[in-house]
Symmetry: C2
Subunit: 460 residues, 2 copies
């Protein structure tokens, strides 16, 4: 039952300019499906279809549109239509739209708002990007402690239509301080003659503040399985409400940032496909250059071992294999530890436990790869028909180096996120490329040290 609208049929009706048929069909659609249809249309057709929607549905649909389509409609629709939409849309969705627009456009649009909505919009935009204030809606319902359930129900029927949620309503005292919350569940289960104060538990109230980070709000929603949480100011006055549906979007944004960071890239903040190419390049270039400069040390390290390589050029041929094994095991460890840290499964205090686990894992993985490496060299040499003591020694050089490098990669990958966290930095900075770069230089030193030890007098 979930799905994309049947585009071909609709397309035909649009081409026939059969607007009355479209209008009939659209009345049965959900706003989110209408929004998807309109987003898929070319820009010049979006407004034509959007105008077919009745007022209420138009505003709801507008809230679901992507930013580009919203921007297009703001210029294509009449001033009167835009005024209606901006004044009637949810305060939190409006904030999300306005924060993406250039300042001059925002000023123009704010002029279209009624005095009340203007004040709300200004207040919400005053909160920092990424803060709870930018997500909250001031459209909540609040009741008094001495009301009985029947009074509450009457009040809801009269004033509840514009409320962002009715799954929770709030209890405030005479001066607006938050005193408790009344879940729709409690309300529906309580006898009509009971008073609010009899059915709410004041001391178990979870609240957010407007300046709080959205990621903290997400934690609270997860922890307490809430459908909505109240936002209070520093004096305990109720100023807004955040609903759980916004949290799924916050979770998605957080994940996007994490994955991009782990890929060694600054978080984009906009969809990949919409980001102008110069910005896309800038977001990538910073880390790429830092890593490149760091990796230059490998060239210096190798220059240091030039004599060894000149004597046994075969040693050089295994460098990529050995280096990449360190990088790969490091990436694995880093992805495990970064994620565990962000889920709160481990804390910095667990570093010793993590280190022991990683030492054992690294040793085991190193032995597995080392064994394969030894066989690779021996079999290769046999196939080429020149297996001798020299090649056996080369095989063991590769094998022992692999054990050391995989262990070093695993330890670096696991300890670096913990160290970054300890220093107050974001553990996610220890991206796969960053760990690989760190491990590469050391890998070369380990490899040639093992080679010097084992092959001294034989090859070197």
């Amino acid at each position: 039952m979930i799905g994309t609208p049947l585009l071909p049929e609709i397309r035909e009706l649009i081409e026939q300019r059969n607007f009355s048929a479209l209008q009939r069909i659209f009345n049965d659609w959900l706003p989110v499906d209408l929004a998807e249809l309109i987003s898929d249309l070319p820009e010049n057709e979006q407004a034509v279809l959007f105008r077919l929607l009745p007022k209420g549905l138009a505003t709801e649909t507008f809230e679901y549109l992507d930013f580009d389509s919203q921007q297009n409609l703001l210029t294509a629709l009449t001033k009167k239509h835009v005024t209606h939409i901006l004044n009637s849309m949810s305060a939190d969705d409006r904030t999300a739209l306005l924060e993406e627009l250039p300042g001059t456009v925002v000023q123009e649009l704010l002029k279209l708002l009624s005095f009340k909505e203007f004040k709300i919009a200004k207040t919400l935009l005053a909160y920092a990007e990424g803060s709870v204030g930018r997500l909250m809606s001031p459209d909540y319902l609040s009741v008094k402690k001495d009301w009985d359930i029947n009074q509450v129900l009457d009040y809801i029927r009269t004033f509840g239509h514009d409320s962002e949620t009715l799954n929770v309503i709030y209890v405030v005292d005479d001066i607006g301080k938050l005193k408790g919350e009344l879940l729709a569940r409690t309300l529906l289960l309580s006898a009509p003659e009971k008073t609010v104060s009899e059915i709410i538990a004041e001391d178990k109230l979870i609240t957010l503040t407007a300046s709080q980070d959205q990621a903290d709000a997400l934690e609270a929603f997860k922890r307490y399985d809430s459908v909505a949480l109240p936002v209070v100011d520093s004096n305990g006055y109720l100023i807004g409400v955040v609903t759980v549906d916004d949290m799924l979007d916050v979770a998605e944004e957080e994940e996007t940032e994490d994955i991009q960071k782990f890929g060694g890239i600054e978080a984009l903040e906009e969809p990949y496909i919409d980001l102008p190419i110069p910005q896309l390049i800038k977001k990538r270039a910073v880390w790429l250059v830092i890593l490149f400069v760091g990796e230059m040390l490998t060239a210096s390290a190798m220059a240091f071992f030039e004599d060894e390589m000149a004597k046994a050029i075969v040693l050089a041929t295994f460098i990529p294999l050995i280096m990449s094994s360190g990088g790969n095991s490091g990436s694995q460890a880093a992805s495990l530890i970064i994620r565990s840290l962000s889920l709160g499964e481990i804390t910095i205090r667990d570093w010793w436990k993590v280190m022991r686990r990683e030492l054992v894992s690294g040793l085991a993985l190193g032995c597995i790869l080392g064994t394969i490496g030894v066989f690779r060299v021996i079999i290769w040499a046999s196939v080429l028909g020149h297996l001798d003591t020299k090649w056996l020694y080369i095989g063991f050089t590769i094998g022992i180096s692999l054990v050391g490098i995989v262990m070093f990669g695993t330890l670096t990958g696991s300890m670096l996120p913990l160290l970054l966290k300890r220093l107050g930095l974001d553990p996610a900075v220890s991206s796969a490329p960053f760990v690989a770069t760190l491990v590469d230089v050391t890998g070369i030193v380990i490899y040639f040290s093992v080679a010097s030890l084992l092959l001294g007098g034989i090859l070197l």
Copy 2:
């Protein structure tokens, strides 16, 4: 107001064995906070404290406990106590517990259930892991179309106490087929004398099926901003309900899998710190060995260029620098495209648009690194006092190779996820290490080809 309980105070009361004081304190606590406290205690103390909780709070607290503590309590508590908890806990939380336990233990525990709960538990466990069935609760409230609102409210007050959610109740016909849903919002806003059929919209119903993937359910919740969605069987009979709070957990699990896969590791399915080390090694070894075997091609490629290296050993010293640049730019591109695909920002059909963007980005990034590379070589040679035409040529070999390799890395990283998706595979398999491995072999070939062209007759 969100936070961890004050452990030192509590610890003191536990040491004093002041159980009556603890009991008084615990009565004011939220189940989730109690669960955190109990999880933090040593295993032998967990049951002592848990027994202090009144029955209802005990069950709720049990639902929030981590799996290890739950398992510990199942063995430490009396059979009577365990029987009560298992029979009174939410069906979906019970499923989550049972699916983690070994089969023999599950059989023992199922025997403790009442006939009704036994049937429910068996049914839910029959659904595949990761399916909607494992998340759903059969405790929903359903009403008939011809009831009026007053009748519905009375029905809720009488039978609603065990319902998983009252934010949505369902409308079914006489034989149990789902006909519509009644949001708490609609219910609260409607006049008491209206009938259910007057206030529900039948045609806009979104449903899930029990066998559906949990990730699909997450998409539906995000798309429709739902607080709960009904689950129907293939004939349209209502069989359960899934609530949005479970979705935040699903989102978290999906993200964990994505990050682990991108780190080049099989998804763990259990917290890192709880996973036995042998399994931890196994989860990592598979990909590490595959990548290692793939990377062996680099040794073969380099063996092929052994003569060139023997003539100009300096060429070998830049190999790690050049290879890693390809891997890093590939990781960046892969992380961007995998995420964009999973957010639905791009589809396979956009491949040409993506390719153009990545060609431009790759060229720009390659030129940036290439320029730095040329300067690195020239400055290095000057510092060592042997800058001559030969070194200029080496510099340009490095620079041009970098342009080619970064472009190749960017294209591989961006196209591989699209290709995997086209083949019906999971795009997330194109992990940072996987992309790096693919790019490494080609990087060596590109580098030595450029070197042969530019340095032929000079060094080679």
